[in-house]
């Protein structure tokens, strides 16, 4: 080994440096593995190492979720009360004010305000068929999502905050912050109101279980996620100002909630508001009304009225822009049968958007009518079977005829810890249908196994 006598420092050959790098990498790998092993073995069994809200109140995930992340009635109320635990509504007792709920909060700590690793690891295999192309099969093992949350309350005040930092989404490292808002809640445990400003993942409505984007299955219903020819998706995270009111009867037998949100911008996701080139010349209005009735059943109505700049044939010689109206109206309901055993869910969403023919620019409309029906069977606490059928009928003025998209999914989900913070799932799904503009047929069969960690 050559030695630099003057400096007394050993100099390494390229090969030796490479060996050292490899050794360091191996050590790093071992350290990484050891940390993961510690997390998977020690922490979940011995501690309620669940995200911040559960840590705050010493509760299990099930206090607010049927199986994470599906919210139950208490989880809904928790959100509406500015992220404070709902009080008992005894008809014979004095109703607590929101400030009383704030005073009951434990000491503010970083551990009860932050969750560093809400992540999903998955294996998926799919076979895709697109008209005019050879079928293809793909499979992957990946970190499906990795999100960090910071949410809680400003001590001794009725202000609350909530932010979500997505590090990995759909297997891609794509840092994004779909939630970053601050709010104020007033009133009392029975009759309360709240207002928030900031960026917010709208999750369609803030509503009852059938109106939630999140479900027991890997994919949300088509009516929430389908991007029609007007490039509008209901599930989005715009910058918004929101206000809501909630009223609950004694023992929470009935809960009524309404809210209105205004999002401002040319693009439905509000993204241009975060940049310097915003013209801020549109107003998008969302409203929804929810009624929960015990036990755990509910109905939600939602409407969205907005406008967005639509750039058609982007970059081509015949590119044009129009300022179309987007309209959505929907109703969602679930009914729980047999004391938390069987949940029957259904939803309907109607869309009526302005539309211009991509070739001629002739004005017209894009109509959509979508629905889904779903059954969840909770075998035990934290163990459920789920199945859903989706159908979306789409029609554009210049189209040859209306077309349909259909999807079904079925799966089994099981919490792997008593606290419910680690959940495993197996699912199979099938999607097929015809694009309403291009009139091409495509189909996709997906098999998925995933495990979700909440720390």
């Amino acid at each position: 080994m050559p030695v630099d006598a003057a400096a007394g420092v050993r100099q390494m050959t390229f090969g030796q440096k490479k060996d050292q790098v490899m050794r360091f990498r191996r050590h790093l790998g071992i350290a990484f593995g050891a940390v993961v092993w510690l997390l998977l073995t020690a922490a979940p069994r011995n501690a309620f190492a669940v995200p911040q809200y559960a840590r705050r109140y010493h509760l299990k995930c099930y206090a607010c979720h049927t199986i994470p992340p599906v919210l139950n009635e208490q989880g809904y109320m928790f959100q509406r009360l500015g992220h404070h635990l709902p009080a008992s509504l005894d008809p014979n007792s004095e109703i607590e004010r929101i400030i009383d709920l704030v005073r009951k909060e434990p000491e503010w700590r970083l551990t009860n305000n932050a969750s560093m690793a809400v992540s999903d690891f998955n294996f998926s295999a799919q076979r895709s068929t697109v008209q005019g192309q050879a079928p293809s099969s793909t499979s992957a093992i990946q970190v499906g999502s990795w999100n960090a949350y910071f949410g809680g309350w400003i001590p001794n005040t009725q202000f609350f905050y909530y932010s979500e930092f997505d590090i990995v989404t759909n297997g891609q490292t794509n840092p994004n912050m779909p939630n970053a808002h601050i709010g104020y809640v007033g009133g009392n445990a029975k009759s309360s109101w709240y207002a928030t400003v900031g960026r917010e993942h709208l999750q369609v409505t803030d509503g009852t279980r059938a109106a939630e984007v999140y479900s027991l299955l890997p994919s949300a219903p088509l009516i929430f996620e389908n991007q029609g020819p007007t490039n509008f998706v209901l599930d989005q995270s715009p910058v918004a100002a929101e206000a809501g009111y909630t009223w609950a009867s004694s023992r929470y037998r009935d809960i009524f909630g309404v809210n209105v949100k205004v999002t401002n911008g040319d693009h439905a996701d509000g993204s241009e508001i975060l940049t310097s080139d915003s013209s801020k010349n549109s107003k998008d209005v969302w409203a929804d009304a929810d009624w929960w009735y015990a036990p755990e059943s509910g109905i939600s109505f939602v409407t969205y009225q907005g406008q967005k700049n639509q750039i058609q044939n982007s970059g081509l010689a015949n590119q044009f822009t129009y300022y179309g109206r987007i309209r959505r109206e929907g109703a969602f309901a679930n009914y729980m049968i047999g004391r938390d055993k069987v949940d029957v869910l259904a939803g309907y969403l109607h869309g009526n958007d302005d539309w211009e023919d991509p070739v001629t620019g002739a004005p017209g409309s894009y109509l959509s009518n979508g629905y889904f029906a779903e059954i969840n069977y909770y075998i035990l606490r934290g163990f459920a079977l789920a199945g859903r059928y989706d159908r979306l009928r789409q029609d554009v003025t210049s189209g040859i005829h209306p077309t349909n998209l259909e999807q079904w999914q079925t799966g089994v989900e099981k919490a792997l810890t008593p606290e419910g913070n680690i959940v495993g799932r197996l699912a199979v799904g099938n999607f097929h249908g015809i694009d309403p503009v291009a009139f091409t047929y495509s189909a996709n069969r997906t098999y998925e196994a995933d495990i979700q960690f909440n720390f």
Partner: protein
Amino acid sequence: MKQHWFLSSLALAALAVVSVFAAQAAPPWHHGAAKSTLNVSTYPPNIQHGFRVFAGKCSECHALSLSLNVSRSEAGWTQEVRRMQDMASSHIDDREAGEIAKFLAYYDTHQPDEQNGADSAAGVPSGRDLFDKLSCSACHSIAGAGNTSFPLDGIGSRRTASELKKQILSPVAGSAMPATTASQTEIDSLISYLVTLKSR
């Protein structure tokens, strides 16, 4: 290559932070963890049934030790279970609420010595017993027991352990609160009990 190292370092750092979180989060959940498994075979059949209802219903949302570590009278437990019954997403009916309250009240008065208060093994009475022994009940009440002029129900939500300690050791001048003659261990045991008295 640089990106690879950056991501590896980021992942390692994040997981290290998570480990710290997990470690920090652990202590509050561990108190009385052993009480999650109880031997109730010597209890009367109706109380054993109450235990099964308690174990089934209450464990849906929280660890059983969260209830078993708290001492209340039967009236206090009836009130507390009623409060749980009136929460959203609670699926406890009136019959079940009664059975749970009966079990918890029975457990409170019949638990083995080693489970009766954190310091029983060291010869220090439980916090609830100290409340009576130190004559706190002359001026204060808990769940209706004692002098109801100054109830301590919910004191754990209004005062921290250090505030309670300060009030006991150095009562506010001019208040009727007397200076205590209790030992440090007794005061600590009493405070450990008082902080569990959360608001309704």
